[in-house]
């Protein structure tokens, strides 16, 4: 269940233009690569929040669309290198679904670049940092999602 008042105390430091990018990461490779990026102290923008999946094969089109509908500025999907999926071909399914979502977005007039697939192995901490940086730059260039309501509206709604 969603938590209706989860946002009642937004962290103060979060500016109005803070981007919200979700990253669906598979457990074996991308999540591990993100861990390694940390171990190596690679610095990257703080706009990305990781949601862990057992495999990117679990990536659900409706989840991605739901995230965008509710104001995510971008969604990145990060899985194993092609051919290296720990569940044999989950990442290829994810790739297909990402393509599908991008097509849908184009149809409704939203930039397809808001959703993007990355592949990396667990030893590629650097690749993770680069992917996040690239995604941040890409979404920053697009600007906040038009589906996102201004903070004032939200406040008004809550009052």
């Amino acid at each position: 269940m969603g938590t209706p008042d989860a946002r009642s105390q937004p962290p103060e430091q979060l500016g109005d233009h803070q981007l919200n990018i979700l990253a669906f990461c598979c457990h074996y490779c991308a999540y591990a690569a993100a861990d390694l990026a940390g171990s190596l102290r690679l610095q990257y923008p703080p706009s990305v929040r990781v949601v862990k999946l057992p495999c990117t094969g679990k990536l659900d089109v409706l989840l991605v669309l739901g995230a965008l509908e509710h104001g995510a500025d971008g969604v990145m999907v990060a899985g194993c290198l092609e051919g290296d999926c720990h569940y044999q071909n989950g990442n290829l399914n994810a790739k297909r679904r990402v393509g599908y979502v991008q097509a849908l977005l184009t149809e409704i007039g939203l930039e397809p670049e808001r959703v993007r697939m990355f592949n990396m192995s667990s030893a590629m901490g650097q690749r993770w940092a680069e992917a996040v940086t690239a995604m941040d730059g890409q979404i920053r260039a697009l600007g906040p999602s038009p589906l996102r309501r201004p903070a004032d509206d939200l406040d008004a709604e809550r009052r």
Partner: protein, 1543 residues
């Protein structure tokens, strides 16, 4: 006793196994055994497991990331309840016998307790010691406190300590010079000061006047000059002086006793400091009006400014020492009456002496100590200025040759003496004064008259007018310390002077000790003490320093002060005064030759010491200004950088202060330990060939020559260059790379092939091209040994897809191009060209040369073999038993991996599992006797309770807390919905925190827990365990990764990192509230096996399983057992009889009551899943079994290539072997034989064993009929490992080898077609036919066609899968590759498992292989199968997919997409609209990937723990609407225990 029978070898069998070596083999063997119910001790000599595989970037032939595949195994090994990892450990001896061994281990200290260390790395950040990182093959630095690599298991840090640096060893006070020098290099002067003061309260003083024996001992002196250690110490002290002095806080007196110290010199003050720090009350009595003793009144200002003495003394007094100046102690008894319980006499030796010669009492005759003291006190106005008047304008002569004499002379110079001379008994060379002091004095105009004996001081009217001397010929002290003096006759002369200063020694002033005080005095007029304890003859009285030894150096006084304070402490605590013996670390003394080697290897760059700046001699005379100016910061750092870091860790203790977990103990010592085990598996791994030994390639001299392992690190994303290939000389991108093969393999010193280099070079070449496609890569080789599954294809892709260029040329040496560091490689080009291009010599430059180094056994492994009494070959490889390839010469000790023979990762993993099976057979009767299981309280029911989330936020030392506001995150968490409790902890994963979390859950009735710390990949199980201990279901746990995903990656933005951490916690808490308990349920296991195939693989596997007590059904299509082994008649070395082995094996199978052989039978069908299969055989039997093992073998290919079948003289190798074995004596031998390699399917895949078989048969023929001429037409000779020796032997025996290419294959003609089809004519008639066979072959080396007319043509055709294998595959639903060989789950890590659970494979059904390889693989498959059969129960469920039947339309989408073929449409389940037939997912075999759930068009499938509502809760907590809701699916029982529906 027969281990296969399953009976234990002796009654006291021990259910534990020791695995030696923590590489991939050791981990695999450990996991297999631990999963089968044995206790495993995994012994690793390094500080972490992982071995060489952890260093690799990718693995061939799949290009899988090595870390990805090894990391889950690391974690699993690390947290397995029944695997105890013993790091920094070496096996010393194994006593006992199979089943009951006792292993003696050496445990080298880590200095960090792995149970307390949380791996935060705070220690590493402060460690000043840099050394080459061996994990990165020396291409990056690491610290002395380190973790081998970021993913290392155990995750705990370790400290590398080689021993005591010689500088520290030489110092009486044990100053950690190497430690503070390293800190100076890092610019951390306050820390450096702290390190100096750990051992010496007088850095400024010792930095100036110490005689610095450390420098004499410094190993750097062997390279150029020793470090200027005293100057560095002085630099630190000067830095401290330049800072404002902050008064130190007094140490509260915590102990009741008070100690009196007599004398405020360096010894007394050092002891006072130590005692006051220990909590004693300390009073120091000083007769003089100033503290500091000789330092203050004996050493002149120009050498030691008073300000420094005063400051360093004040630092001691601040601690709470009560100092009474100008207070002379008259009576010791008084002190005890006053209540002091111990007295330390440290009065020094302040009384100067005169020689008893005439004139010594004249008024102008002075004494050193008095003179110097007067000068110093005069500065304070505390004494008459007489000293100045006594020398001003005078001709001064100092008598004495020590440092004090020099001080007197140089002081006299400064006081305005007209001239100053110095005369002494000793020759110039013998003078006890420091040479530099003498030089300084001379530079200031002091005239030296050494080697004089003084007769009298001339008295002229009551005044001094000169000293009468005589020259000394020799002087020495005898054994009793008596001076023996010989003077030159007739050399009497006078040195003119009008003032004399005696400086011939000092003695102790003992007037205050009355005769009846009970304190003994020595003949030398010093206080008598026990030299070990410093106790004087009266209890409670101690003495130290010059008062007991006579004049010595300040550092000795400091050392004595420390020692005596320790004894006084023991005395007051009522402990024995003598210290217990504590083993010391060795002193790291380097040999000059080693240092020179390091200089030549470029490791040490020569640089003389940075000179100490001084004021010119001319400017010194005017006053007492300091002569040496001290280093500047840059000079100090430059000098410090010269340190060779002899001891590695220098015990600077920075880590100790940084460690919040208090895990560091520098006093740990090496110990030995004895562990009882039933079996030992040796997996010590290999050592790469030391390439510097092949001097022709310049490794170590030419910077751009690297080893393959170094190149692997350059390719690795976590390597020293972050995955960018760079040449070491200048960091530029290499455009041309050359690989040189067979470096340390197949050469004069290695008669074997290392088996992996061809493939790893191909892989590294491919990866280099993938990184930078325009890189040119050339590989120089003799043969391409792509002999295993998928290797040939990989080799082709390397050439065709990536354009890697291969040259058949062995490079003999390299040259470095002057100025560019490029390397010139010269080779014979054109020879390999099929078009017969003319060979030409080519020389081209390369930016980087990679040496494909082979495998060797390290000296440590050879030692291990010797100590264990197992047989090794001359190269150190382990010799094993024929047809029992893992068994060493000592029963119960098994050898695996490259230790047996060079091999690649899959075969190493196979070995490891095979050895696990061997050990399990040996110990089957005690399985489970030592294995532990975790006990938990019953689970609490939380359904119906509102979520009560507890949030625990981790500081991770400074790793999180140093970069974001942990308390703010905690406060924020506390106010989140459903959160009932939030707190922060220094380390959430430390033992006390884990317990606290458990307690909190119980106390506060929490029903969900969030830990905000690091990564769930390593830490989730730990926390799940802690909530399970509180009775919570482990799935009610969630982590927020605020370290790896936040503090570490946003470390420059406190606000953003804090905000993001708050969001991550909010997401985790929201998800936690939505979590539900999940159950895993035990599924019963049918404890028997079905083995399909009765060849060597099937029989071996059956015996290995039956030996462990598991019933086996062995199914064989044919009427008899044996398979391909029936076609093998001799071995290459002719040392064993394969047919005898076959007979013995068949007999064992027949005899074994647990093996049920079904001959003439086939599998009809099979159903069920892991643990619960039901199969029907063609003989009508129905079998229930828990596992299935496929060992259907292969058969020799018999196609019509090269006219096979058209002539009886054309045979296959198997036929030829049978003929050679059975050839009756009366039949003639063929005079010439031609063999053609790579026939038929072998043009597609390498037949692996054909080369060896060809050599075996050729050599057999040569042995039986030496005159026979054998010609082998080959493409590549692919005998790997020790098979190379066959190749060598064949050449030695004159077998002709002719290489051909596939685009110019040999051709065969039959000249006499009449004989076609007359198979019965056979070879016997061959010699009656006029040269019937004609073979034409293009010799690419000679560049011309050969015509051969052999009596026999033998075709090397490969093994192909057995007939029926494909059909069997579809019955079992297991995949096969394009050539029909069954496909394993993972080439590297699950080489004998099928992807489907519970199915295994072995033998030629997997790929052609040699008999011994087949045996090992069958043992491995048996081991893997046993990990299932030996489990108490299979656990099914947890985070798996479940179907909601009421939504299922039975559309088959899930059935089609599941990579494991798990979902099935069951007619007995009702789907949507009450229509029969819905999908069912068996929990026991579902892998939980979720591919089906996301594809299901009806959204009827949910992955538990990742349900839609749980996912949306996470996302919703982040996204702005906050209230995203999601339709909650109808709850389904999770997971359904659905066995009933199937069986």
């Amino acid at each position: 006793m027969d281990p296969i029978s399953g009976t234990p070898v002796n009654e006291q069998a021990i259910g534990a196994v020791m695995v030696v070596g923590g590489g991939i083999a050791g981990m695999q063997a450990s996991l297999d055994l631990a999963d089968q119910g044995f206790k495993v001790y995994l012994v690793e000599s390094k500080s972490a497991i992982g071995g060489h595989m952890a260093q690799l970037d990718k693995t061939f032939p799949t290009n899988d990331c090595a870390m990805c595949v090894i990391s889950p195994k690391l974690v699993e090994t690390g947290r397995h309840l029944n695997i105890e990892i013993l790091t920094n450990a070496d096996v010393l001896a194994v006593d006992g016998q199979a089943g009951n061994f006792s292993v003696r281990l050496r445990r080298r200290p880590r200095y960090i307790d792995p149970l307390k260390c949380v791996g935060c790395g705070d220690c590493e950040k402060v460690c000043p010691i840099l050394l080459p990182d061996e994990f990165n093959e020396g291409m990056a630095p690491r610290r002395a406190v380190y973790r081998l690599y970021p993913q290392a298991i155990p995750a705990a840090y370790a400290i590398e300590k080689k021993g005591i640096a010689p500088c520290r060893d030489a110092c009486p006070a044990g100053q950690r010079a190497q430690g503070y020098i390293a800190l100076v290099r890092e610019g951390r002067y306050a820390d450096a000061l702290r390190v100096i003061k750990e051992d010496n309260p007088f850095p400024g003083i010792c930095g100036r006047i110490c005689n610095h024996r450390c420098e004499l001992a410094c190993n750097r002196g062997l390279a150029d000059e020793p470090l200027n250690i005293h100057a560095l110490k002085r630099f630190v002290a000067d830095w401290a002086m330049s800072q404002d002095r902050e008064p130190l806080a007094a140490v509260p007196q915590t102990r009741p006793q008070r100690v009196a110290v007599i004398g405020a010199g360096p010894c007394g003050l050092t002891a006072a400091k130590d005692l006051v720090t220990l909590g004693y009350g300390v009073t120091v009595f000083e007769a003089l009006p100033v503290a500091g003793g000789m330092l203050r009144v004996g050493v002149p200002e120009y050498r030691l400014p008073s300000a420094i003495v005063d400051r360093e003394v004040q630092d001691i007094l601040d601690l709470g020492v009560d100092l009474r100046l100008s207070t002379t102690v008259h009576d010791l008894d008084d002190l005890f009456v006053q209540g002091f319980e111990a007295v330390l006499i440290a009065v020094g030796a302040h009384e100067g002496k005169k020689l008893p010669i005439p004139g010594a009492d004249l008024p102008e005759v002075l004494v050193n100590t008095q003179f110097l003291r007067d000068v110093r006190l005069a500065e304070l106005g505390q004494a008459a200025a007489a000293s100045r008047e006594q020398v001003e304008g005078k001709q001064v002569l100092v008598l004495g040759g020590g440092n004090v004499a020099i001080d007197c002379a140089r002081t006299a110079v400064r006081l305005g003496a007209r001239s100053v001379a110095l005369s002494c008994l000793e020759s110039r060379a013998q003078m006890p004064a420091h040479p530099s002091e003498i030089e300084e004095a001379e530079a200031e105009g002091v005239q030296l008259y050494p080697a004089r004996s003084f007769r009298r001081i001339r008295d002229e009217g009551g005044h001094v007018s000169g000293v009468e001397c005589v020259d000394v010929r020799s002087m020495e002290f005898d054994a009793d310390g008596q001076l023996k003096l010989e003077t030159e006759p007739d050399t009497e002369h006078v040195i003119a002077c009008d003032a004399v200063i005696f400086s011939i020694g000092q003695r102790v002033g003992l007037a205050f000790i009355p005769d009846d005080a009970g304190v003994g005095i020595t003949r030398q007029q010093t206080i008598a003490v026990n030299p070990n304890t410093f106790a004087a003859t009266r209890p409670g009285v101690f003495a130290a320093g010059d008062a007991t030894t006579g004049t010595a150096f300040v550092i000795e006084a400091v050392a004595a002060g420390h020692k005596v304070s320790a004894t006084i402490h023991r005395y007051l605590a009522g402990q024995p005064l003598e210290l217990r013996f504590a083993p010391d670390l060795p002193v790291v003394k380097m040999a000059a030759a080693d240092v020179q080697t390091r200089v030549h290897g470029g490791e040490i760059r020569l640089a003389p010491r940075v000179p100490m700046p001084m004021i010119p001699a001319g400017q010194r005379l005017g006053g007492f200004a300091e002569v040496e100016c001290g280093y500047s910061e840059a000079q100090a750092q430059a000098e410090a950088a010269r340190c060779l870091v002899c001891g590695v860790c220098a015990e600077c203790l920075s880590c100790v202060y940084a460690c919040g977990a208090k895990a560091i103990n520098h006093d740990e010592v090496e110990r030995t330990e004895t562990i009882p085990v039933g079996a030992v598996i040796l997996a010590p791994g290999y050592e790469p060939y030391q390439a510097e030994l092949s001097e022709e390639f310049g490794f170590g001299r030419y910077p751009n020559v690297v080893t393959a392992l170094q190149f692997e690190r350059l390719l690795s994303a976590s390597g020293p260059t972050a995955g960018h290939v760079r040449r070491p000389s200048d960091g530029a991108r290499p455009h041309r790379i050359a690989f040189l093969q067979c470096v340390g393999s197949r050469d004069q010193t290695h008669d074997y092939c290392s088996a992996v280099c061809c493939m790893y070079a191909a892989k590294e070449a491919v990866m280099a091209k993938e990184h930078e496609p325009d890189t040119e890569v050339h590989i120089f080789m003799m043969d391409m040994r792509a002999f295993s599954k998928g290797y040939e294809d990989y080799y082709r892709r390397a050439q065709e897809k990536y354009g890697v260029r291969y040259h058949r040329s062995r490079i003999s040496g390299l040259r470095e191009e002057p100025g560019t560091h490029r390397l010139l490689v010269r080779w014979q080009a054109g020879a390999e060209a099929a078009d017969g291009g003319r060979p030409t010599l080519v020389e081209e430059p390369f930016d980087l040369v990679v040496l494909s180094v082979g495998m060797e056994m390290s000296p440590a492994v050879r030692r291990l073999g010797r100590e264990l009494g197992i047989e090794l070959d001359p190269y150190g490889f382990c010799a094993t038993v024929r047809f029992d390839p893992l068994q060493t010469s000592r029963p119960g000790i098994f050898a695996v991996g490259p230790f047996r023979e060079p091999k690649d990762i899959p075969e190493t993993v196979v070995d490891a599992s095979g050895a696990a099976a061997q050990a399990a057979v040996l110990l089957a009767s005690v399985r489970g006797s030592l294995a532990r299981e975790r006990a938990y309280p019953p689970e609490r029911e939380v359904a119906g309770e509102p979520p009560r989330v507890g949030v625990f936020v981790c500081h991770c030392g400074s790793n999180i807390g140093g970069f974001l506001d942990v308390p703010a995150v905690t406060d924020y968490a506390r106010d989140l919905p459903h959160v009932a409790h939030a707190e922060h902890m220094l380390y959430t994963c430390s033992q006390d925190s884990i317990v606290r979390i458990t307690e909190r859950v119980k106390e506060l009735g929490l029903n969900r827990v969030v830990v905000a710390s690091c990564t769930p990949r390593t830490h989730e199980p730990l926390f799940q365990d802690s909530i399970r201990a509180a009775g919570l279901n482990p799935y009610l746990f969630e982590m927020a990764n605020i370290r790896n995903q936040c503090s570490w990656v946003h470390s420059r933005d406190w606000a953003a990192a804090t905000a993001k951490a708050q969001e991550l916690v909010r997401m985790a808490a929201a998800r936690a509230a939505a979590l539900e308990p999940l159950q895993t349920m035990p599924v019963n296991i049918e404890r028997s096996a079905l083995v399909i195939g009765g060849g060597p693989a099937g029989m071996t596997a059956a015996l290995a399983l039956a030996g462990q007590g598991f019933p086996v059904h062995l199914v064989e299509r044919e009427a008899q057992l044996g398979g391909n082994l029936r076609n093998m008649f001799y071995t290459a070395d002719d040392a064993a009889d394969p047919q005898a082995f076959l007979q013995e094996t068949v007999d064992r199978v027949r005899r074994d009551p647990l093996i049920h052989a079904h001959l003439d039978a086939e599998l009809v069908d099979t159903a069920g899943f892991v643990g619960n299969f039901t199969s029907r055989l063609s003989d009508g039997t129905e079998i229930r079994h828990g596992v299935t093992l496929v060992a259907t073998g292969g058969q020799e290919y018999r196609g019509d290539e090269y006219l096979y079948g058209a002539d009886p003289r054309i045979l296959t190798q198997q036929q030829f072997e049978a003929w050679l074995a059975g050839q009756p004596a009366d039949r003639p031998w063929p005079e010439s034989v031609v063999m053609i390699q790579c026939v038929g399917p072998a043009e597609r895949y390498c037949g692996r064993i054909c080369c060896a078989m060809a050599f075996k048969n050729a050599l057999r023929l040569k042995a039986l009929h030496p005159a026979a001429q054998v010609t082998i037409l080959y493409r590549d000779i692919r005998v790997y490992g020790f098979g190379e020796r066959l190749y060598t032997e064949a050449r030695r025996q004159g077998v002709r080898l002719v290489r051909y290419d596939f685009d110019r294959k040999p051709s065969v003609q039959i000249a006499n077609p009449d004989l076609r089809g007359r198979a019965d004519a056979a070879v016997a008639d061959a010699d009656h036919q006029p040269a019937g066979l004609l073979v034409r072959a293009w010799d690419s080396v000679l560049g011309r066609e050969l015509e051969l007319r052999p009596d026999l043509l033998v075709l090397s055709t490969p093994l192909v899968p057995s007939a029926g294998a494909r059909e069997l595959g579809s019955k079992l639903k297991v995949p096969a590759d394009a050539d029909g060989f069954f496909l394993e789950a993972h080439v590297k890590l699950r080489p004998v498992d099928f992807a489907s659970e519970g199915l295994f494979l072995a033998g030629a059904a997997h790929y052609p292989k040699l008999l011994e390889e087949t045996i090992v693989q069958a043992q491995a498959a048996a081991s893997r199968a046993a990990t299932i059969l030996a489990r108490p129960a299979l656990m099914a469920g947890g985070a798996v997919a479940v179907v909601e039947p009421s939504r299922c339309t039975g559309c088959l989408t899930c059935v089609r997409i599941c990579p494991y073929g798990v979902p099935r449409i069951m007619t007995n389940i009702t789907g949507v609209g009450n229509i029969a037939g819905a999908a069912h997912i068996e929990a026991a075999i579902c892998q939980g990937c979720g591919i089906c759930a996301s594809e299901c068009p009806a959204r009827a499938i949910h992955v538990l723990h990742y349900r839609d509502d749980q996912m949306m809760a996470t996302m919703g907590a982040l996204l702005e609407s906050g209230g995203v809701t999601w339709e909650r699916p109808t709850p389904v029982a999770s997971p359904p225990n659905s066995l009933a529906t199937i069986n």
